[in-house]
Symmetry: C2
Subunit: 411 residues, 2 copies
C-alpha cells in the first residue's frame, strides 16, 4: 500500500475567502504603495483591548512569572472561574440555567464551528443558509459530507437555504430531509436577524425532524432590538436540539487574543445506529480532551475581566462605537440609493451591487476606484452573488472617509 | 432521516489517560485532605516562565492596549517574526534549511498531532510504537481508522510496534504494510532515544514503502548525548517523508501558555487515488486556514523571547534544573534495585514495577503508600503493562522527598 491523501480536500472550490481577499489586497498594495486603503472587508476589529482587560492580562502574566502562582496545564474545557462568569452574566439574565460542565472554553468560534462536525456520522445531511460563513461548508467538505460542487457553486449533498432580498433574508424551512442545520444570528454575512417567533420555528422543526441546530451567536453583543433573542436557549426546548457558539472576538476585540466558548447542554442527545441516545456533552468533552489542551491561562483571565463592572462598561463603549459606524454605513449607502440590509443589530452591512454587477467585479471597483476593501457576497455562497458586505470595525474617521469615497463613485 | 453520532467514538477504550489520573487523584485527595501528594504523573512543568519571557509577554500585552500597535487577526500559520526565529535558531544550526511557508505555529503539539491525520484518507494503515502517547491512537480511532479493540487492548486495524526492555526500546520495523507511522523521540513515555543510525532506518523504510512519518520531537530540548538527532531532518531525505512536531510546553514551561509548531516540508508529497502527487504543505495550510485562527499574538511574542540571548540562557537554566531532577530519579530508582530506562535525554523515567505487579496496582500503591502520583505504563498501551512513568517536572525538593518516600516502601 501507499499513504494516500484525504481527497475531500480536492472538492473545496477555492481558497479560503479571507485568505483570497488578503492576497488580492496585498497584490494591489504592492502595485500601489501610496494608496491609503480603508479595510472594511474581513470582520476584524480595530479598537484596542479595554483598560481593565489589559490590567487583568498583565496580572495573569505576572502570575505566570511567580513560582507560587504559576499555572501549567489547565482543564481542557476551561477554568471554572471563567465558565461561572459566563453562566452568571451571559445566560442567567436571560433566564437560562447552565451547568459548568455544559460550557467549553476554546481559542475561537472558528475552531469550534469547524471541529464540531467531527461528532456526527459521515452520512448526515448538512443544511446551511446561503450566503453563509464558509467554515461551516468547508469543514464538512473536508469531512466528506458534501459531494462534488456543480458549476452553479452548490455542493450536491449539501442543502442550501437561500436568504436573499426576495424572502427578506428569512430562509424557508428545508423541504429536504436534513440532519444538521447551521444557523448564525445576527447573521454573518447579511447582518440580518430572526425574531423569537422565527427562531422558534427552527427549534420546532429540529425537534419534529430529529435534526440538530449548530447555532453561531458570535455577534450577539450587537443586538439592540428587543424582539431578537440573545441565545437560542431563550426558545423553549432548544437545549434538546441546539449547540450554541459564542466568541469574544467582536464583543471585546479578541480577534488577536483568541478566546471563545460553546454550550453543549446535557439535554442534547442524538441517536446511534441502534437508536440508542448518546449525549453530545460527553462526546464533545472527549473530543476536546483528546485533541485540545485548553486556552492560555492569561487569556482566560483576560476574558474574565470583561464581566467585571468596569470591563462591562468599557466593552460597551467599544461596541457602541462600532454600532455608530454601522449606522453611518447603513444610512450613507441608503442615501446613495442602494438596497441595504443589516447594520442594525449587527456590525455587518449587506447591500445589492448597483445595476446587477457581479460581486467580485464590484469588489474590484471598490478597491481600485474607492480604495475600500469589501467582501464580495458570492464568497459566502451562490445566493450572495450580486451583494457586497462591509464591516463596521474600522475607525469612525476611516468609515466616514470610505463612505465619502464610495459616494464619489456616483453609483 | 435522523441526526446520528460518529460511532467511532464508542470504540475508544477508556477515558483520556490524564483525565482518568486527575479523577483518581482528586478522589484520593478528597478522602485524604491532609496528605501532601507529590505529583510526578502528568508531564506538567512547575518552574515559572523565565524573566525575559515574562517581559516580552507584558510588552505584547501593552501593544494590545494601544490603538497604534493593537493587533487583530494574525496569519493562521503564525507570524513571520516567530517563524523566522524558529528557522534561524532551531534548524539552521543543525544544517537544516526551511522556508517560512513550511513552519506552522499552533497552540499545542497535542492539537497538531491530533489534527494532522485529517489530511489522510480513511483507509490508511496507522502504525504506533507501543507504549505510545494516547493522542495518536485516539485521534485515529475517532477518525475511523482503528477498527475495534480486542480484549488484549489492541485495535484490530492499528499496527503496534512494541518497545520494551526485551528489544532495548528500539521497535522493529513493521512487518505489515503500513502507511502512517507515529514516532516520538526522545520518547514519551519511555524516555528512550534513537541514534542517528536507528532513525535513518525509519526514514529509509518510509521512502521504500511509500509511507509517511509523523515525528513528535516535543522533548528535543532534553537531548544531551551527541549521537541523538535533534530533528528528523538531520537524516538525509527525511523532508520527503516526515512531518515534525515541536512544542514550547516543556522547553520553556508553556504548558499553560500554549504555543507549539510543526514543520511540513514542500518536498513532502503523497499520492491521491490516481497516483498524482499532492503536497502536504498546501493541504495543511488549507486545513489550518479553515479550522484555526492562529495563536494569540502576545503568546507568539512571548515564544519569540525564548530565542533572545537572555531568553536562551534562562530557559537553559530551567531545563538543566529538570535534567538534574531526572538524574536524581533515575539514580535513586536504580539504587532501589529497579530496572530503569530513560531519564538521560528526557524528562521521563520509565521503570519496571517490582515482582511483575500490574501498572494500575502499582500506581495505587505509590499513591496510597508513598503519596506520589505516577502514570501507569499500561495507560500508554498494552506493552506498557508492568511499567510506571515518572516525570522530572516537579521541584527538586519534592522530587527528593518523593524518592525518599518510595525508598521507604522497601520495594
Amino acid at each position: 500500500m501507499v499513504v494516500t491523501v484525504n481527497e475531500n480536500f480536492n472538492l473545496i472550490q477555492n481558497n479560503y475567502l479571507f485568505v483570497e481577499i488578503a492576497r488580492r489586497v496585498d497584490e494591489y498594495q504592492k502595485e500601489n504603495p501610496d494608496v491609503d486603503l480603508i479595510k472594511m472587508g474581513i470582520g476584524d476589529v480595530t479598537r484596542p483591548l479595554a483598560k481593565s482587560v489589559i490590567k487583568a492580562f498583565h496580572d495573569a502574566v505576572d502570575e505566570m512569572g511567580d513560582p507560587e502562582t504559576f499555572r501549567g496545564y489547565g482543564p481542557e474545557q476551561g477554568y471554572d472561574f471563567l465558565i461561572e462568569d459566563i453562566i452568571e452574566n451571559d445566560y442567567k439574565p436571560l433566564g437560562i440555567d447552565l451547568r459548568n460542565s455544559e460550557v467549553f472554553i476554546s481559542d475561537g468560534a472558528k475552531c469550534d464551528t469547524g471541529n464540531f462536525q467531527e461528532l456526527f456520522s459521515q452520512d448526515n445531511v448538512i443544511a446551511v443558509t446561503d450566503p453563509v460563513y464558509p467554515v461551516y461548508v468547508d469543514s464538512n467538505v473536508m469531512a466528506g459530507r458534501s459531494g462534488k460542487a456543480g458549476d452553479d457553486g452548490f455542493y450536491e449533498k449539501i442543502v442550501y437555504l437561500p436568504a436573499t432580498a426576495e424572502n427578506n433574508f428569512v430562509p424557508a424551512l428545508p423541504q429536504e430531509d436534513v440532519d444538521i442545520i447551521y444557523l448564525c444570528y445576527p447573521n454573518n454575512p447579511t447582518g440580518t436577524t430572526l425574531t423569537h417567533e422565527q427562531l422558534k420555528e427552527w427549534v420546532d422543526y429540529a425537534k419534529e425532524n430529529d435534526a440538530i441546530i449548530l447555532f453561531d451567536a458570535a455577534y450577539e453583543a450587537f443586538i439592540r432590538t428587543s424582539d431578537v433573542p440573545h441565545s437560542i436557549y431563550e426558545i423553549e426546548g432548544a437545549k434538546e436540539v441546539a449547540v450554541e457558539f459564542k466568541s469574544y472576538s467582536k464583543v471585546a476585540g479578541f480577534t488577536g487574543t483568541r478566546c471563545a466558548y460553546c454550550v453543549v447542554p446535557e439535554e442534547l442527545k442524538i441517536n446511534d445506529s441502534n437508536g440508542n441516545k448518546v449525549g453530545l456533552t460527553a462526546l464533545w468533552n472527549r473530543r476536546q480532551s483528546t485533541k485540545f489542551n485548553g486556552v492560555s491561562y492569561p487569556v482566560q483571565r483576560t476574558a474574565q475581566a470583561i464581566y467585571t463592572p468596569e470591563g462591562k462598561k468599557e466593552i460597551k463603549e467599544n461596541l457602541d462605537y462600532y454600532v455608530e459606524n454601522a449606522k453611518l454605513i447603513r444610512e450613507s449607502l441608503i442615501d446613495m440609493g442602494l438596497d441595504v440590509y443589516g447594520g442594525e443589530n449587527s456590525p455587518y452591512i449587506w447591500f445589492k451591487t448597483p445595476d446587477g454587477i457581479d460581486s467580485w467585479s464590484f469588489f474590484n471597483l471598490l478597491l481600485n476606484d474607492a480604495h475600500v476593501v469589501s467582501t464580495p457576497g458570492v464568497g459566502f455562497g451562490p445566493s450572495g452573488e450580486g451583494y457586497i458586505r462591509l464591516t463596521a470595525f474600522n475607525t469612525y474617521e476611516n468609515t466616514k472617509k470610505a463612505m465619502e469615497r464610495i459616494k464619489q463613485l456616483n453609483l
